[in-house]
């Protein structure tokens, strides 16, 4: 039962599994589902496993069980229908005229505007239901807009269904807010970054080391000696280097700022540096990149276990990356191309990645992005990208 519905859900992009479909059959067979309402709820709770797909589910449900009335026609729908009628009229005036039961020549004399008006008036007259016959809005009519009409757009009027309420629920699209698109918020970032942690023994010795205690006790010939250990705490070090210069980063300021504030609040040991386009001899500790330089060479003094995260669009003129004096700032001329500097950072910190706010689909159009990807693994600054980045950084342990 409902196999088509299952495949419609699948085709719409909701990850539904055959097992859960069988489970739904079981629920149906034990007599728990007695109405379309029940079916709506049961199928959703069993088949759909994330609120992100609830909206899509509602749409598919409304579409699939469309034997029911979708919505009461309002002014805009009527005007849409009138327009559709006009299109039909232009294609095949005779048929429409016949369907409407009026003389073709009468309509021929009208301008398109007049036609629209005429159609709309006729549509508004149709508040009552009309079945069969040559009435042009009715369930059995030959009209292009009726229930069983042959208009490809498939607009429909009338037709009361006993299934109304479940569909009305589905039509409401209550779960639109939870759909997958939408900007990355701080809370979502938190979810993605939550697993980024590094457990090390820290603090007071308050955990019993059982193996060691037994061993010592044996050595003491049965005199109990209990050994305590430090418990594991998260002591992850993070360096966040942010490209905050230039117009090319302008569109991403909001999202980078969210990342910045979130990570400042979340991670206890975090250093933030700033740079423009790419890294040369110096990083900057102040966002204005003026007062507090930090020599890149000094990075070796830091813990190599630090996760080094670079955030930038990696888009620049190729010479800025490759040329010996590539910087657009004169005082940063150093004799070593930025490319080498980046390699140096990647060597110093084995857990380093590059987060790019540009969408991955666009990466191949920028040459410097491909070059930098040879040095750092690059991830999109999106929910999915962050998750991938986190699992990458945790796996290389």
């Amino acid at each position: 039962m409902f196999t088509n519905f299952f495949y419609t859900l699948k085709n719409a992009g909701i990850p539904v599994s055959p097992t859960s479909f069988l489970r739904l059959q079981k629920a149906l067979s034990i007599g728990l589902v007695n109405s379309l309402n029940d079916f709506y709820t049961a199928a959703r709770t069993i088949l759909v496993k994330s609120e992100r797909y609830f909206d899509l589910y509602d749409q598919v449900f409304a579409h699939h069980f469309e034997g029911a009335e979708l919505k009461d026609p309002d002014e805009t729908i009527i005007s849409d229908m009138a327009k559709a009628l006009l299109e039909e009229w232009l294609k095949n005036p005779k048929e429409i005229a016949n369907a409407l039961g009026v003389d073709e020549s009468k309509l021929k004399d009208m301008t398109p505007e007049e036609l629209i008006k005429y159609f709309m008036e006729r549509l508004k007259d149709q508040t009552e239901e009309h079945h069969g016959g040559s009435k042009w809005i009715g369930t059995g009519g030959t009209s292009p807009v009726g229930h069983s009409g042959y208009h490809p757009g498939g607009m429909r009027v009338g037709g009361i269904s006993r299934n109304r309420s479940a569909l009305k629920v589905a039509m409401d699209r209550r779960f639109r807010d939870y759909s997958q698109d939408g900007p990355l918020t701080q809370a979502q970032m938190g979810e993605a970054l939550k697993r980024l942690r590094n457990m090390v023994p820290e603090g007071p010795k308050d955990q019993i080391n059982i193996d060691e205690s037994i061993y010592r006790t044996m050595k003491n010939a049965g005199e109990i000696e209990i050994v305590f250990d430090k418990s594991l705490k998260d002591r992850l070090k993070i360096i966040l280097a942010i490209d905050n210069g230039g117009w090319s980063m302008e569109p991403y300021i909001e999202i980078v700022r969210t990342l910045f504030y979130y990570s400042r609040a979340q991670f206890k040991d975090i250093k933030t540096f700033f740079f423009h386009n790419t890294i040369y001899d110096r990083l900057w500790e102040d966002p204005a990149r003026m007062r507090k330089p930090f020599p890149v060479n000094d990075l070796v003094k830091l813990d190599p276990e630090t996760r080094f995260i670079i955030v930038g669009d990696a888009s620049m003129a190729p010479y800025e990356l490759m040329a010996q004096d590539g910087s657009i700032y004169f005082e940063e001329y150093s004799g070593m191309p930025s490319y080498r500097r980046l390699e140096f950072i990647a060597d110093t910190f084995p857990h380093s990645i590059w987060l790019n706010p540009k969408l991955e689909a666009h990466w191949s159009y920028t040459r410097t992005i491909s070059m930098i990807r040879e040095i750092f693994p690059m991830f999109e600054l999106t929910l999915d990208g962050l998750e991938k980045a986190v699992s990458y950084m945790m796996h290389k342990n």
Binding site: R23, T45, K49, L383
Partner: protein
């Protein structure tokens, strides 16, 4: 397929207001004997639901509060080595030191399995633990059995518990996990639902106060840029505070006076933001 249908259907409890949809989901879940995964904003009553089920069906509730450092075995059983070590040294207890089984204590899941009657098992905030924990645990819940390695014994559930799992996470749990449970997302209640919820907690509440407070509450929730939006819990505490203040009149809320903001907004930037918005409206 044999499937015992629970004679008592869940319809809501004394302190819990339930919408029809959720009631049905719970009944289906109980009939299919599957874990139910509940997601939703904090304060939508995910945890309360388990309490309500256990109360209305008269079943014992066992709560497993998941912690980030938790290992699966902690939730199943514990082998109390220290007591055994102590007993073997001093030998002044009635336990038999050579019998390891006497030093096995059941964890929360173990208790639910070994209970003599059907219980409700609430696994709270599963998202705190890492993915491996979640997947392993689901295996245990799926098979309804686990092994105690130390004494080579398999514990089988006497009665399948009703399992409710809650998660605050915005992101999805792993696929194998999701494949084994039913799912529901509790949306934040609409104002009229909220009025019913409040009335359950304060049966004698003045109608004017109720309406004004709920209205003000939803207005405050909508303020742009609030980081932690007040939830049901905050509203109920707030109303409790308003009611206990003899000088407070329900009309004040319409006039834009909003006392005890600190109950609703618990982060200082949120608090000052809300304060500013209210003052601007007051003028």
């Amino acid at each position: 397929m044999s499937c015992e249908k629970s004679p008592n259907q869940f319809t809501g409890a004394e302190k819990y207001v339930l919408d029809d949809e959720l009631a049905e989901i719970i009944n289906i879940t109980m009939a299919l004997e599957m874990p139910l995964l509940l997601k939703g904003e904090p304060g939508t009553g995910k945890t309360m639901l388990a309490h309500a089920i256990s109360e209305s069906l008269n079943m014992r509730l066992i709560v497993l509060n998941v912690k980030s450092s938790m290992k699966l075995v902690d939730a199943l059983y514990q082998y109390d080595t220290l007591t055994r070590l102590n007993d073997s040294r001093f030998g002044d207890s009635k336990r038999d030191v050579s019998n390891i089984a006497e030093y096995i204590r059941m964890g929360k899941i173990g208790q639910a399995f070994t209970a003599d009657e059907k219980v409700v098992l609430l696994i709270d905030e599963i998202d705190k633990a890492d993915t491996d924990f979640q997947d392993d645990m689901l295996d245990v819940l799926d098979q309804m059995e686990f092994d105690i390695m130390e004494i080579d014994k398999t514990i089988k559930a006497k009665h399948r518990p009703v399992i409710i799992i809650t998660s605050n996470a915005k992101k999805d749990l792993s696929d194998p996990f999701l494949g084994r449970c039913n799912f529901h997302h509790i949306a934040f209640p609409e104002p009229d639902m909220m009025e019913r919820i409040v009335r359950v907690h304060f049966p004698d509440i003045d109608k004017e106060l109720l309406q004004n407070a709920v209205e003000a509450f939803y207005r405050l929730r909508e303020i742009n840029g609030i980081e932690k939006r007040p939830a049901t819990r905050e509203l109920i505490n707030w109303i409790r505070a308003l009611r206990s203040d003899p000088d407070f009149k329900a009309k004040d809320l319409v006039k834009g006076k909003t006392p005890y903001l600190g109950i609703l907004f618990k982060k200082s930037p949120d608090y000052s933001l809300a304060r500013n918005v209210i003052e601007r409206h007051g003028k």
